[in-house]
């Protein structure tokens, strides 16, 4: 047998070598794509790159142009309105549906399957389905007219003022099931003894939810909030399928602005500046959350 000497510490590099080799894809992904790619984009947002990326720095020019572009301002406003309503509606509807299913309902599986199935569908499919239902000439509105309710008007996609609510209806349909499942998992994670204690103390169901259960579910709410928020910023496919930004520019969103300037309008610098602004938005949301979630545990 080959007698190796085990009295000396083996070189650090070769220690756990297989694990290091197995981690090469992760190291490349994080360092090259995530860190490297993001840094590259941020750096190039200060250049006047057009068709090809060039390191010709022009300071904050791209940002000035960005913030004076009507299309970008509309995009930001849309994202804010969509984000505000979708956060609230997602959380409220998701939680409400979860509490309904948490009441030991018969056929819970069937209801859950129904509420969640849209989540399995892509935004493209979602958008096209709702585009058809909201079709003013042949869709829901026409059905109501045919039924004799001629004053019924529900045509959100054809007006710049309401198109964002059309997006919301479709987005709620697709995504509330996910939030419901997360909330339901949170509700199920609460010890049954809490409910027993509340019943012994004579506290009503609604009051128990508000006073006891919701405060206990804080981490679940935070998680759901982060998921919804990061989904809002990514909003792109749904807009492309449902409205393609129209009518006019009225349903443009930042992600679409970026893609448009990077890959259609051949104005890379604008695209980089806009995507950097998206990154900043995410950071503004993410950093407080990360601080709340992990900051306290550092000394533990």
């Amino acid at each position: 047998m080959n007698q190796t000497n085990h009295s000396k510490r083996p070189p650090q590099l070769f220690k756990n070598l297989s694990a290091k080799i197995a981690s090469i894809p992760m190291i490349l992904t994080t360092m090259v794509v995530f860190v490297g790619g993001t840094t590259w984009t941020v750096v190039h947002s200060f250049t006047n790159s057009k068709l090809l990326p060039k390191l010709n720095f022009v300071g904050l020019d791209q940002y000035e142009r960005l913030w004076s572009s009507r299309r970008w301002l509309i995009s930001i406003e849309n994202l804010a309105v969509f984000g505000f309503f979708s956060l609230i509606l997602m959380m409220v509807i998701g939680f409400f549906l979860a509490t309904l299913l948490d009441r030991k309902v018969r056929g819970e599986n069937i209801f859950r399957t129904i509420f969640l199935y849209p989540f399995a569908l892509s935004f493209i499919v979602t958008g096209l389905a709702w585009q058809w239902i909201l079709n003013p000439d042949l869709g829901l509105q026409q059905v109501m007219h045919d039924l004799g309710w001629t004053s019924f008007e529900f045509n959100p996609l054809n007006s710049g003022d309401t198109v964002i609510y059309g997006l919301l209806i479709a987005a709620m349909w697709q995504g509330t099931g996910l939030i419901m499942v997360i909330m339901l998992a949170g509700l199920r994670g609460i010890d049954d003894d809490i409910w027993k204690a509340a019943r012994v103390d004579g506290i009503g169901t609604v009051k128990t939810y508000i006073k006891i259960i919701i405060p206990m579910m804080r981490p679940v709410f935070v998680t759901a909030l982060v998921i919804v928020a990061s989904g809002i910023i990514k909003l792109y496919d749904l807009v492309v399928a449902l409205t393609n930004g129209g009518p006019g520019l009225s349903s443009e969103v930042p992600a679409k602005y970026v893609i448009n300037y990077m890959f259609r309008a051949q104005n890379l610098g604008q695209g980089f500046a806009a995507s950097t602004m998206m990154l900043v938005t995410v950071a503004i949301i993410l950093i407080p959350w990360a601080y709340l979630e992990f900051g306290g545990k550092d000394n533990g």
Binding site: T4, N5, H6, S7, K8, R9, K15
Partner: protein, 356 residues
């Protein structure tokens, strides 16, 4: 040649020193128990010996070979875990032969070893079963078998009986002792259960904060604990302690001067000291009269345990426990005379808490 030698072993996680400058020699065929409460470093030490944790400094020798940086499988050890750690998707036979297959041993030899080990442990009828279909006791036998087939010199046990119920634990404890006698291997056994330690060990190493407090045979550990921690840790219920001044070969206890002439001092001592006496060494009733120390106490509480009865009272403002026989008519509130012999006590320095 010692079976296992540990020299100046250090282990730290970041800034936390778990083991510091630890030395330990374990003789061929010895059954050594590492005993301590959770977090004392006993399992950590065992994992270092197994090679499952990288040491920060120091050397480990097994059968004379320096294995400090060798892989676990190269060290000539077998290990048994608290949670059995049987591979759930393999049969018992698969579990027993997995390690041998990894050594690329030939099939005939594997077969021979598996059948020999399963014969010793009486698990031949279970070979085709999966672990999920076994009882706790059977699982632990298979886990021992997995160490057995390796035909190694040193067995490591990491609280192997803790997951079993009380009755099974006692049965397996006896089996383990018989197994050790039969095989004659070196065994290193980690536990927090002092009964396991006392019954199984040739020597016990009592650990605290990564340091071996005392290393000795069970009898010495029990009757001559080297410091107050060991005295307190070993024995259930634990030792009674009293504080008092020691001067000129006598100690003040309960306002009474008791001669320490019969106490085996390491060196002469004057000053404050702890005196410890085990509940089972306290005599009561008429037996107490001619003891070196005696007093009368009031009974606070009586705990009958069947074989004996534990009586709680107060002496010198401290709780004072003592054992009497199982069938007793002592009641709460009774006044009872107690006493003990000085050669049964342990004295400790008040500051260093080291045995005097």
């Amino acid at each position: 040649m010692n079976s296992v030698e540990i020299r100046e072993l250090d282990l730290s996680f970041g800034t936390v020193n778990v083991l510091a400058g630890l030395n330990l020699d374990i003789a061929q065929g010895e059954f050594l128990v590492l005993l301590g409460s959770s977090g004392c470093g006993k399992s950590t030490l065992l994992n270092c010996i197994a090679g499952l944790l990288d040491v920060s400094a120091g050397q480990i020798f097994i059968q004379g070979k320096n294995v400090t940086w060798a892989q676990p499988s190269e060290r000539g050890i077998g290990m048994v875990f608290q949670s059995y750690a049987l591979y759930p998707q393999m049969t018992v036979e698969g579990n027993l032969s997995f390690g041998l297959k990894n050594q690329r041993m030939d099939k005939e030899e594997i077969k021979k070893r598996v059948s020999k080990a399963s014969e010793i442990l009486q698990i031949e009828s279970l070979l085709k079963r999966k672990p999920a279909a076994l009882s706790g006791g059977q699982r632990q036998r298979v886990a021992i078998g997995r160490a057995l087939v390796r035909d190694v010199d040193v067995f490591l046990f990491d609280e192997p009986l803790s997951n079993l119920d009380a009755k099974l634990r006692t049965d397996l404890r006896v089996e383990l002792k018989l197994l050790h006698r039969k095989l004659g291997n070196t065994m290193i056994y980690v536990t927090h259960d002092q009964v396991e330690a006392m019954t199984l060990a040739d020597r016990i190493a009592v650990m605290k904060d990564g340091v071996i407090q005392q290393l000795g045979d069970p009898n010495t550990i029990y009757s001559k604990p080297t410091n107050k921690y060991v005295a307190d840790f070993i024995g259930s219920p634990s030792m009674n302690f009293f504080k008092g001044p020691v001067e000129n070969g006598a100690m003040q206890i309960n306002n009474e001067s008791v001669s320490l002439a019969k106490y085996d001092f390491h060196k002469p001592y004057n000053g404050l000291a702890w005196l410890g006496i085990r509940p089972e060494h306290v005599r009561s009733g008429s037996d107490a009269n001619d003891c070196d120390f005696n007093a009368t106490v009031v009974v606070d509480l009586v705990e009958p345990m069947g074989a004996d009865t534990l009586v709680w009272s107060t002496l010198q403002d401290n709780p004072f426990r003592f054992r009497v026989e199982g069938q007793t008519d002592i009641k709460q509130g009774d006044k009872i005379s107690i006493g003990f012999e000085i050669e049964r006590t342990s004295l400790f320095d008040i500051d260093t808490e080291i045995r005097l």
